[in-house]
């Protein structure tokens, strides 16, 4: 079974703090993704990466950055947390065959509250 783990289930931070969210997958997947889920807005893609040290902006990258130093690990960084970044953050991974879409496997999520 594919396993995607996220470092924290719940996190409370203060405005202006630097926040790191970590994600690890154990299936040697090329692709990794960071989403945020908000009521009425569904899942929105923040950043994704198709290889080590590669990153691509998603639909809402502002206020976020990412790091992928190892294939199995993808980190989301909030440089200076703001209250509008309070959300559920979901990490996902998938294969990248190049010929078809592959299922994305999600972690359990991190509920981040910024005070």
């Amino acid at each position: 079974d594919v396993k995607v783990t996220q470092s924290s289930r719940y996190l409370v931070k203060r405005t202006g703090e630097k926040v790191f969210l970590e994600c690890v997958q154990d299936m040697d997947h090329e692709n990794m993704f960071w989403y945020r889920q908000d009521p009425g807005l569904g899942l929105r893609l923040i950043y994704f990466s198709y290889d080590v040290k590669m990153k691509e902006k998603g639909d809402i990258p502002e206020g976020y950055s990412v790091s992928r130093e190892k294939k199995e690990r993808f980190s989301l960084i909030l440089e200076s947390a703001s209250t509008n970044q309070t959300s559920m953050y979901l990490c996902a991974s998938s294969l990248l065959t190049g010929t078809r879409l592959d299922t994305q496997y999600f972690g359990p999520g991190t509920r981040l509250t910024v005070l």
Partner: protein
Amino acid sequence: DQQVKQNSPSLSVQEGRISILNCDYTNSMFDYFLWYKKYPAEGPTFLISISSIKDKNEDGRFTVFLNKSAKHLSLHIVPSQPGDSAVYFCAAGFTGGGNKLTFGTGTQLKVEL
């Protein structure tokens, strides 16, 4: 611009009856569609998918129908069970898009006894 829309935020169905969840999309480049199911405090899990070359895909109690001309897809669950109560997300992508998916806003399904 919401390229994938789920216009019903919630749906309530009796156990044993059919649940029909709907999804509309606007981007003609999408050629692959998926449904994910999400329970509270868990990540979404893949349920069923359909390629644009098909108009129906079935897996047990779950069937997805695709109407390309209307840019509409639907998920049918028959018979509905209480364990199906969850949020269902429709997602779309296109071959060559790096497996990047665009998700809808979700529909909360409640199956009542």
